[in-house]
Amino acid sequence: MTAFWGTDSMIIGLGTLLVLGGPVVGGLVAGAVAIMKAKTEARQAPPLFGVIVDFFSLLRQAPNPVRQDLVFAVLLQLAFSLLSLALLIQQMNLLMVLFFHSFATLIVVAISGNLKNFLVFQPVLLAIGAGLGLLTGGFSFATLFIQPGFFVLEMPFLWLCLLIVFRGSGLPVREDAGIAGPQLALMKLAACFRQTTLLVLAGAFWANSFVGAIFAALLIYLAVCLGEFIYPRLSWRVRIEWGYGYLFFACAANLSWLYIKYWL
């Protein structure tokens, strides 16, 4: 192991930072983005800490679950989201991380009745994992950091796909899903962990450069915001068409390129 992510203490430190600091920073950035968006739409901007305040106010509300199974599902997806992030920080098998991430997302989409979203984005995520596997010859996340160069040059399409997946992974919860109060807060928290997992994965595209990883994370977030402003809401049909018309094709092309270059 090399670079910034080697020793146990570094792993523990980084893990703590991501698990505790991620949601706080994420909340602040989300607040900043909300202000930017309000400005572009010429309406009154919400406060910077609005997202964090909303989160705590939701958490303080009296629990009034309509269905007990939903409460369990919310807790389960929070556990899987946290587990996938923790396993990634522990540099475990990348596919295992992605499968736990998938379980968490699956529960969320099942709650919110948005299975189509999963259908589009999850293959892309697994394809990104496969791309990293083809590049490094295995699925150990630790081996990513001993590779020379920037992965983004080898996997430009997969990089673009990751941006789109990141955009799509912030799943809205339907109002009629019966989720409110503390459960909704926990879902938002879990979403934050899942997004952090994707950001860490995105950081792997600049694995041998700490600055590059930060830069990559920022670039992704800006791109996501840009996408959000340009395409506020896409219908599921458009997403499906994009998913299989562009994303899957792009992934297949990039994977084929990696296979031809390194394995044929």
Binding site: P65, Q68, D69, F99, A110, L115, F248, A252, L255
Partner: protein, 624 residues
């Protein structure tokens, strides 16, 4: 010793089948079914304790023995030709004649034909299959007693058809047991043909035009697979001096055997209903539900996968293996995609069976320890969980308990270690150097996850809408409870079970791959938790907590919708009767999430075209 075991597992079901057919007394039938189930379970318990055993006909009798097998095969084929005359079906006549010609050529061909080597073999792969066939098969037999009584009540039959039905089931189980321990391609073929004919008897139980049409189509498709199998046998015999499966597996120049192996693979694809041969199995769902369980989770389809897994060491690491992996991955993805579009639960489960077999097929083609391990394990686990799901959706009682068990079965499919996710993860990992298979496996993984989630969500809605009541007659749900317990206990003790049953398979069957045969697979599923599988512990804890939570939150009775202005109902003190009669539970549901997708018939068509092209490619590559 092996002959005694075969007497119990093969001959006893055949004898019972004759008794069932001849004796029309329902009381006798009921007791005999229980007795047969007990015999099969005792027999398989003995088989597990025996381990590795082989039987060869004594010197001097080997040739006679195989000639008798050939004769029996010819008798079955003549029966098929007779059937084709009755049905006036040219396809069936053609297939029967081709089979007769091939068998006749073998029996009266060149000197030394056929070769008597072979006989029977009980190794750990056979034991795993025997466990599935007899363990689950016995439970299905007992389940069928109650099920068929209610089922026939629907038709108001003057004469019950249960004797023939149970005779068919017993014969099917006996033939499958014979097939599993057969160590000669001709013996394998004989039991296979018997199973196909049993399948026809069971599928056409209703005697409706639709049932008869589906039964005929099933027979024709599987006999076509039989022709491919026989061509493989003849081709193999031209290249090697033996028709023994175990001796064939030890042939040093396996590359020369690729053409006959491609024929066997094609037969296996037909038997296991992989794309484009899926229609026979899908049409067979019109039969009574226990038939679907036997065909999909226990016997016929499993036989196809068993054949390919048994022969896979011969073609691993070849181009044939790569193409077969792509075909398996394609079936895995296409069937899961089509399953998402289904309204009918039986059809959905059938497509997911095809999908799971595709995954097993893909895994079994990679010369990788984990892939082979999971492929073998998945045959067993899939059979049990799929049988549980079928039995629960087919419960006449519509009890809430049956729905709970269905949910447990579906969760078992989705969560480690039964699922399919562990196998999918390993499949993606090992298929890294086979890009088409990799992409298809990724797509199939997501499709099957969505499909099972959709299934669970819909089932959960049914539970919370409380359409049924808690079943009070314990015997009606006993088979489901027994199977659920078997599933749970297998999951809990998966590590020791696999160490005892699966690990030896790697040493016995994969000797030509030193890294697989000599690898220590005992710790593969163990990583802490006092010898328990950690993935299972995680899944089990989540499942138990979840079910407990659901149980607490379950409403005592669903609130009834009340129209505005309607007065409150007066409590008369009379409790409503639980729903026990037909129609079957609400197995139809609207897959609203995907209702806007294009017609699934087109998807079927395109999937079959692609799969057909892949099979043509397989032969083109192998013959070159």
């Amino acid at each position: 010793m092996l002959l005694h075991l075969m007497g119990i597992l093969v001959m006893m079901p055949i004898l019972f089948a004759i008794f069932f057919f001849l004796n029309k007394n329902p009381r006798f039938l009921k007791n005999a079914v229980f007795f047969l189930a007990g015999i099969l379970i005792a027999g398989v318990g003995w088989a597990v304790s025996l381990g590795f055993l082989a039987f060869e006909a004594p010197t001097g009798y080997a040739d006679l023995f195989i000639k008798l097998v050939l004769l029996a095969n010819l008798v079955v084929v003549v029966g098929i030709i007779y059937l084709s005359r009755l049905w006036k079906n040219l396809w069936l006549s053609g297939l029967g004649v081709v089979q007769a010609v091939l068998l006749g050529w073998m029996s009266g061909g060149q000197p030394g034909w056929p070769v008597g080597a072979g006989g029977f073999l009980l190794d750990h792969l056979s034991v795993v299959m025997l466990l599935l066939v007899n363990g689950v098969g016995s439970i299905v037999l007992v389940f069928s007693l109650n099920f068929m009584e209610t089922y026939e009540h629907r038709f108001s039959l003057v004469n019950s058809r249960q004797p023939l039905f149970f005779a068919g089931m017993a014969l099917l189980l006996g033939a499958m047991n014979g097939l599993v321990v057969a160590n000669n391609f001709l013996i394998w073929f004989l039991f296979w043909q018997i199973m196909v004919l049993c399948g026809y008897i069971l599928i056409t139980h209703d005697r409706t035009n639709r049932a008869i049409k589906n039964g005929r189509s099933f027979v024709i498709q599987h006999l076509a697979g039989g022709v491919a199998f026989l061509v493989g046998v003849v081709w193999l015999r031209l290249l090697t001096p033996t028709l023994s499966m175990s001796e064939t597996l030890m042939v040093s120049d396996a590359i020369a055997l690729l053409p006959p192996l491609a024929c066997f693979v094609l037969a296996g694809l037909v038997f296991s209903s992989q794309f484009p041969f899926q229609s026979g199995l899908i049409r067979s769902i019109t039969a009574p539900l226990p038939v679907s369980v036997l065909l999909q989770a226990v016997a016929l389809s499993n036989a196809g996968i068993y054949l390919i897994i048994r022969l896979s060491p011969l073609f691993m690491n070849t181009l044939l293996a790569k193409i077969v992996a792509v075909i398996g991955a394609f079936s895995f993805a296409a069937a899961a995609l089509l399953a998402m579009l289904q309204h009918d639960t039986k059809r959905l489960l059938t497509l997911m069976t095809i999908s799971s077999f595709g995954l097993i097929l893909a895994l079994g083609c990679f010369a990788n320890l984990q892939a082979i391990y999971l492929a073998t394990l998945l045959i067993f686990l899939h059979g049990m969980t799929k049988a549980l799901l079928f039995l629960c959706i087919g419960s006449h009682s519509q009890s809430r308990f049956a729905y709970w068990l269905t949910l447990v079965g579906a969760l078992a499919m989705l969560m480690p270690p039964f699922g399919i996710p562990t196998a999918q993860w390993i499949a993606i990992e090992v298929s890294l150097l086979n890009p088409p298979a990799l992409l298809l496996l990724i797509a199939g993984t997501v499709f099957s996850m969505v499909c099972w989630t959709q299934f669970i969500v819909k089932r959960r809605i049914v539970i919370f809408d409380s359409i049924g009541s808690i079943e009070k007659d314990f015997l009606k749900v006993a088979p489901q409870i027994a199977l659920a317990l078997v599933v749970g206990l297998t999951g809990l003790f998966l590590a020791p079970i696999t160490n005892y049953l699966i690990t030896p398979i790697l040493k016995e069957n994969y000797g030509r791959f030193a890294d697989i045969a000599q690898a220590d697979a005992t710790g593969f599923l163990i990583s802490g938790f006092s010898g328990l599988n950690s993935l299972f512990v995680l899944g089990a804890v989540a499942g138990i907590v979840g079910l407990g939570w659901l149980w607490i939150g379950l409403p005592a009775q669903a609130p009834e919708a009340k129209s505005p202005g309607e007065p409150d109902k007066i409590d008369t003190g009379i409790k409503p009767e639980p729903i026990t009669a037909f129609p079957l539970p609400k197995n139809r549901y609207e897959p609203a999430l995907f209702s806007q997708f294009p017609d699934s018939r087109k998807t079927y068509f395109y999937a079959m075209v692609v799969a057909g092209a892949l099979i043509i490619l397989m032969f083109e590559v192998v013959i070159r």
